[in-house]
Amino acid sequence: MMAPARLLDDGEIRRAVTRIAHEILERNKGADGLALVGIAARGDDLARRLASEITRIEGAKVPVGVLDITFYRDDIGMRAEAPEVHETRIGFDITGKTVVLVDDVLFTGRTIRAAMDALVDFGRPTSVALAVLVDRGHRELPIRADFVGKNVPTRKDESVRVALQEVDGEDAVYMDDRTG
């Protein structure tokens, strides 16, 4: 088994987050009406980092929520066991907000489809955008990210793994070769 290749290190992740924060503010023309919703797990940690970057740049507080999309998955009943459920906590009304969904890796797009379905059960945002740390391609649905930390060309059988300080004890993005 080959050692996993590191695609991003901690400095690159930090700079990517900062850049995305700037891009979000630029697109939204400031922090007004902005809300971040991270997809559990790791998307929520990235959303909190983006929020604190935005606060640092703009001096404004942006509400952050965490969304678990398990109940909206399209593969329920196809796996042996019901998928494990994580916490959902959106402590603010998303109606009228510009919501940026935040996830670590964008791959087939199915998670984002589920997240958009879940989100509308909480209210009616003015608009929904998508920010991801890594876009590795291979979309199976007509979905694209508005803000991307890094585009990484991959084979479909490879796996991209994001490690974050908050849960994994380090900041890094790895590519594991499953066929290795």
Binding site: F71, I76, G77, E81, A82, V85, H86, F122, G123
Partner: protein, 312 residues
């Protein structure tokens, strides 16, 4: 999770925690603008109720609907025999309709076991005779964990007609499984023979038990038990075993008062006791929906298995 939920013993301690944790997520779903998730879209849940129990049926119905499952209610009072169609034929009919889960309430102990012989889907016991009522036990465990934060070392008393109570059986086994201590309290005629072999304590003296409790769980006592000579009179029963205002004063601070409903106010529990803040009887009902959603999700959210466990 086991395919069927026939007894609380079908659920391991680890799975109890999983059910309660998942129920936590469904409690959150209940706070959303739209309280419905598509998790069980396309699945069919049948409520097969041979006993009138509007409360339990509605709780299951709402749980299934909030998971986007299709729900069919099949209610009939009395036994299948008196109705003319056998349990087997009803089961085969429901099977032919493509039921993914059958929630059964029946006056005969063991009927859910019998049902599993003929249906491919999951069977959930919503109360069978004087045997078990596992979903009630799980929602009670949820309520206890929510209020007290733990099970290990908790001291619970289950008071009343334990002999005929399916709630008492499931809750006793559930609490014991989770590391709590259980004392069954009631007149000796209403304590099941050899119950101490379950690992519970048995007491005939409620006043000796109350001062040590974290949970005081009162059971419904039916008046017909007097006619069957389990106790001489309802008046004597409530004087000896009813939870009165005076007895509540003997409970430690923070002890929960629980009851599975429907209550006989003035028999096993005084009317004003049921309305005290430490009585969490309404919370039990609310939590019932989330716990049943959790069970349906965990049992039906996996792949469909096709085997029928015909035993002969």
């Amino acid at each position: 999770m086991n395919k069927h939920l026939l007894s609380i013993n079908d659920v391991s301690a680890e799975d109890v925690v999983r059910v309660l944790d998942t129920a936590e997520s469904f409690r959150e779903v209940g706070t959303r603008v739209i309280k419905k998730v598509p998790a069980l879209r396309g699945r069919t849940v049948v409520n097969l109720f041979y006993e009138n129990s509007t409360r339990t049926r509605i709780s299951f119905e709402l749980a299934a609907k909030r998971l986007s499952a299709d729900v069919i209610n099949f209610s009939t009072s009395g036994s299948s025999v008196s109705k003319g169609e056998s349990l087997k034929d009803t089961a085969l009919t429901l099977q032919a309709m493509g039921a993914d889960a059958i929630v059964i309430r029946h006056s005969s102990s063991g009927s859910p076991y019998t049902l599993t012989k003929w249906v491919k889907g999951s069977v959930l016991n919503a109360g069978d005779g004087t045997h078990e009522h596992p979903t009630q036990a799980l929602l009670d465990l949820y309520t206890i964990r929510e209020k007290l934060g733990r099970f290990e070392g908790l001291r619970a008393a289950i008071v009343g007609d334990v002999l005929h109570s399916r709630v008492a059986r499931s809750l006793s086994f559930g609490l014991l499984k989770m590391g709590a201590e259980v004392t069954l309290v009631g007149p000796p005629t209403l304590i099941p023979p050899d119950a101490s072999a379950w690992g519970v304590q048995v007491s005939y003296d409620i006043d000796g038990v109350l001062p040590k409790l974290d949970v005081c769980y009162m059971l419904r006592v039916q008046r017909e038990r007097q006619r069957q000579q389990y106790f001489p009179s309802v008046r004597e029963y409530s004087r000896l075993f009813g939870l009165t205002r005076d007895r509540v004063a003997m409970l430690p601070e923070g002890c929960l008062i629980m009851h599975p409903g429907p209550m006989n106010r003035g028999v096993e529990i005084d009317s004003d006791v049921a309305d005290l803040p430490q009585a969490v009887i309404e919370e039990q009902v609310t939590n019932g929906i989330a716990v049943r959603m959790s069970l349906l999700y965990l049992m039906l959210g996996g792949a469909v298995t096709e085997e029928v466990s015909e035993r002969d």
